[in-house]
């Protein structure tokens, strides 16, 4: 019994240390490496973009025993140069929101892991951190996708010139919207509310003998 609980405690602490350290590293990488890359790209006039593509696969794909029935490209990773300052700013802000969202989520995960290690998970700071992470996911997800999508549209116009549907541009003016960050944001806000309720319950039992 004692061996089992010691094993469980050690495993739990190991997991918490691993998750906390991993989250800290991810957050630091987002801010330091991602931030540096953002500045380098903006200064070097080489802006990475992920553009929507709607083209069939080239012929001759295959040759094995299985048959490719259908397929299409749906996006292309490109690096653009010579974009107007406005577009570069828009895309840079969109990427910055993405990085800040990652950093906020990573920081709150690290803080939760630390408070769990200290045996005080229902602290006001944890509920606040989770609420911040949830709000960041919602706001950051919306802004980064909105600004990024709009920036990509303008970038396509500057890259291709004629983007009318009749011209059948290689990069069509469509915007992919991923609802996952919003869903995760709402879920994280719910967790933050649960932690706040837990904090109040804990407060009610403080000093109880």
């Amino acid at each position: 019994m004692s061996d089992t609980s010691t094993f469980e405690r050690t495993t739990e602490r190991g997991i918490l240390y691993a998750v906390g350290t991993g989250a800290l590293l991810v957050g630091a990488a987002a801010v330091l490496l991602g931030g540096t890359q953002l500045i380098v790209d903006a200064v070097a006039d080489a802006v990475p973009l992920r553009l929507e593509v709607d083209h069939a696969l080239p012929g001759g794909v295959g040759g094995g025993t299985a048959t490719l029935i259908e397929g299409a490209y749906d996006s292309a990773a490109v690096t653009a140069s010579g974009l107007s300052a406005g577009v570069v700013t828009l895309l840079t802000i969109a990427r910055a929101f993405e990085l800040l969202t990652t950093a906020a989520v990573a920081w709150s995960v690290a803080w939760l892991a630390w408070k769990l290690l200290r045996g005080r998970p229902f602290a006001a700071s944890v509920a606040n951190a989770l609420a911040t992470a949830g709000a960041s996911l919602l706001i950051g997800g919306l802004l980064s996708q909105g600004l990024g999508g709009f920036g990509a549209w303008v970038a396509i116009e500057e890259l291709l010139g004629d983007v009318s549907p009749e011209a059948d541009p290689f990069f069509p003016l469509v915007m992919a919207f991923d609802p996952a960050p919003l869903g995760f944001g709402l879920a994280t806000l719910l967790i933050a509310i649960a932690f706040e309720r837990g904090r109040r319950l804990q407060q009610d039992t403080e000093g109880l003998v």
């Binding site: 039992t205 403080e206 000093g207 109880l208 003998v209």
Partner: protein
């Protein structure tokens, strides 16, 4: 302002123990409440007490609830 003044309740555990010549450790063993919790109670730092704890202490000290807990001067 002391803790008893904050809660408005004073615990006379110290006095009752002294009258009976009993130690806190002995009481802790008899009632099955941790020494830490009894110290919290004794020093008027408790904000709430379970009925089970209250009855166990009163039984061990052979006293009434009103002898153990009294209103503190605010």
């Amino acid at each position: 302002m002391g803790d008893a003044e904050l809660t408005g309740v004073h615990c006379r555990l110290d006095e009752l123990l002294a009258e009976r010549g009993m130690t806190l450790t002995r009481l802790s063993e008899e009632v099955g409440v941790s020494l830490v919790n009894l110290s919290v109670l004794k020093n008027d730092r408790a904000k709430a007490i379970r009925f089970s704890t209250l009855i166990a202490i009163c039984e061990a000290l052979d006293c009434a609830i009103g002898e153990l807990l009294v209103r503190a001067e605010r």
